[in-house]
């Protein structure tokens, strides 16, 4: 089965690859996954005083689907409020990228990365972190 075109697209033209200053109060950093599992995603958001995500950056160690999932996540995050960002569901990513069943866990990790970044931002700004509801084993 060949690589999906959309997945290839994100690899050849990745959006938002990079790093934000993780020490800044307006930046939330989510680092999820583990090298032993073959998947590590770092997703960062820059949030303004109106709770709007003005910038998002990612870096991912993982397969093509993992890279595409996190790249897509950063695309979707930009311009959303933090509350809107929480509604991003992994199945939206699966649908958009046409991920096969064996790659669904990549989208779950991307959703975790989003929530983890949001939580980091919240904790830095004196707010309580949300519960990461889904477990994915």
């Amino acid at each position: 089965m060949a690589y999906s075109e959309k997945v290839m697209e994100h690899y050849t033209n990745p959006r938002n690859v990079g790093t934000l200053n993780k020490d800044s109060k307006s930046v939330g950093t989510g680092l999820v996954g583990a090298p032993e599992c073959g998947d590590v995603m770092r997703l960062q958001i820059e949030v303004d005083e109106n709770n709007v995500i003005t910038d998002a950056k990612f870096k991912t160690f993982g397969c093509g689907s993992a890279i595409a999932s996190s790249s897509l996540a950063t695309e979707w995050l930009k311009g959303k409020t933090v509350d809107e960002a929480l509604t991003i569901d992994n199945m939206d990513i699966v649908e958009e990228l046409a991920l096969p069943p064996v790659k669904i866990h990549c989208s779950v990790l991307a959703e975790d990365a989003i929530k983890s970044a949001i939580n980091d931002y919240r904790v830095k700004n004196g707010l309580a972190p949300f519960e990461l509801a889904k477990s994915h084993h």
């Binding site: 290839m8 690899y11 073959g38």
Partner: protein
């Protein structure tokens, strides 16, 4: 009317004048190899006008087919140093492994039930052993050293009076490591056990001689040596000692009662021709391939944080297995889209487990995930290798730009100290 001869000539000429590389470049010859055009030419008549069943005793169609099969036995025998009567044709190396291991276990039941093998064997051997454990076999899975070689003292220590079979592969399909076969066979024989080897990756690539190497049973397959898929050999020794195996497929008693079923005549003819070509061309080919492999490997291992897996002194001439730290194998293969290679990454296996062979070497999971296997072959050119080097370097660098682990490594962060969010 265009004949096969014309087609053959056309293909040869095409190869000579075709300066343009065909993309993607095939560097996965450990998975399978293309048919050598000369093998195809030898096989074709047996699909068309020489279509007889080799077991048809009573007419020319059968005699012609039988003659072709007998000739193929000679060609195989010449390559591996055995007689025609010691060859059982099967549907491939997997079936040959099954027949050898199960066949010996059942035949020598009175003598003992202990089998010794290694953790880096092909699944055809490992799964067969696991199956036999349910029927009362006791199996020892020897661990290998970090370079992939068996420790001979450990093998010696594992032998028991109940050991009937030691089965260790000649050359490993993932890392190319070649085991000390003569020494292993000697230890097996010293303790009264038979020695079997799955030599699928080695036959036709390096000199394999069943008598010089002390081999009692040997499995190999045509499609790793420029022959067709669906045909292989189990060599079964007839002298010093005379070895027997219990048939696993019944139905007519073909192959001296050891493997029933109408012979795949065109496949066998192809296998024979493939063996003959290897016999004639093996030495030059091995020299040519190891030079190309060394060029590929030394260029790529100049990259920062790259690791060659497996013993480099004792290995097959055409294999290179390299880990590129901080990038993941499947992502890397996607990035190397003009190259056909394979990886030990979990993402490429249906089970989502990283390569068990690399894990047996003691490789960490993340390095196993970051490995790429290059398998060069008869039709690999220097131009293709040069392209592969550039393409791989570009892909690794691009993915490192995307990798948070590479960034952290560059900043001097000790990744082993991090508490990862998963598991």
């Amino acid at each position: 009317m265009i004949t096969v001869g014309d087609l053959f000539t056309y293909l040869c000429v095409l190869r000579i004048i075709n300066h343009n590389m065909e993309l993607p470049i095939y560097l996965d010859n450990n998975a399978t190899t293309p048919l050598d055009p000369r093998v195809l030419e030898a096989m074709l008549p047996y699909f068309t006008n020489k279509f007889g069943n080799a077991a048809s005793r009573n007419h020319a169609f059968g005699w012609v087919a039988e003659e072709a099969v007998d000739y193929a036995r000679e060609q195989v025998g010449k390559l591996i140093g055995c007689t025609e009567k010691e060859i059982i044709f099967t549907s491939g190396a997997t079936e040959a492994d099954n027949l050898g291991i199960k066949g010996v276990f059942e035949m020598y039941k009175e003598k003992g039930n202990h089998i010794i093998t290694a953790t880096t064997e092909h699944k055809a051997v490992l799964d067969t052993c696991k199956h036999l454990e349910k029927s009362g076999a006791k199996v020892t899975y020897l661990k290998v050293q970090s370079d992939g070689l068996i420790n001979l003292q450990e093998l010696e220590a594992a032998m028991t009076p109940e050991t009937i079979l030691v089965t260790i592969m000649y050359g490993n399909n993932e890392i190319g490591v070649v085991q000390p076969i003569k020494e292993i066979a000697a230890i097996a024989h010293k303790h009264g056990a038979l020695f079997m080897t799955d030599a699928t990756q080695a036959v036709g690539k390096i000199p394999v001689n069943v008598n010089e190497d002390g081999i009692d049973l040997m499995a190999f397959s045509a499609h790793k040596m420029y022959g067709p898929k669906g045909v292989g050999v189990l060599y079964v020794r007839r002298k010093n000692p005379r070895v027997k195996v219990t048939a696993q497929i019944d139905g007519g008693g073909h192959e001296r009662g050891m493997r029933s079923g109408t012979l795949n005549v065109p496949g066998i003819v192809g296998l024979g021709k493939a063996c003959e070509l290897c016999y004639l061309e093996m030495d030059q080919e091995a020299a040519r391939l190891s030079a190309l492999r060394d060029k590929l490997e030394s260029s790529l291992s100049q990259m920062e944080e790259s690791y060659v897996n497996g013993n480099t002194a004792h290995r097959l001439p055409h294999v290179a297995n390299i880990s590129f730290k901080y990038v993941e194998g499947e992502g890397l293969m996607m990035a190397m889209k003009d190259l056909a290679v394979s990886s030990g990454s979990a993402c490429t296996s249906a089970s989502l487990e990283p390569s068990y062979v690399l894990k047996s070497l003691g490789l960490s999971d993340d390095l196993a995930h970051s490995s790429i296997r290059f398998g060069l072959g008869r039709f690999t050119t220097e131009e293709e290798i040069d392209y592969a080097i550039e393409n791989t370097k570009k892909a690794v660098n691009h993915l490192r730009d995307l990798s948070p682990l590479w960034e952290m490594f560059k900043e001097g962060i000790d990744l082993s100290k991090i508490e990862w969010a998963e598991h």
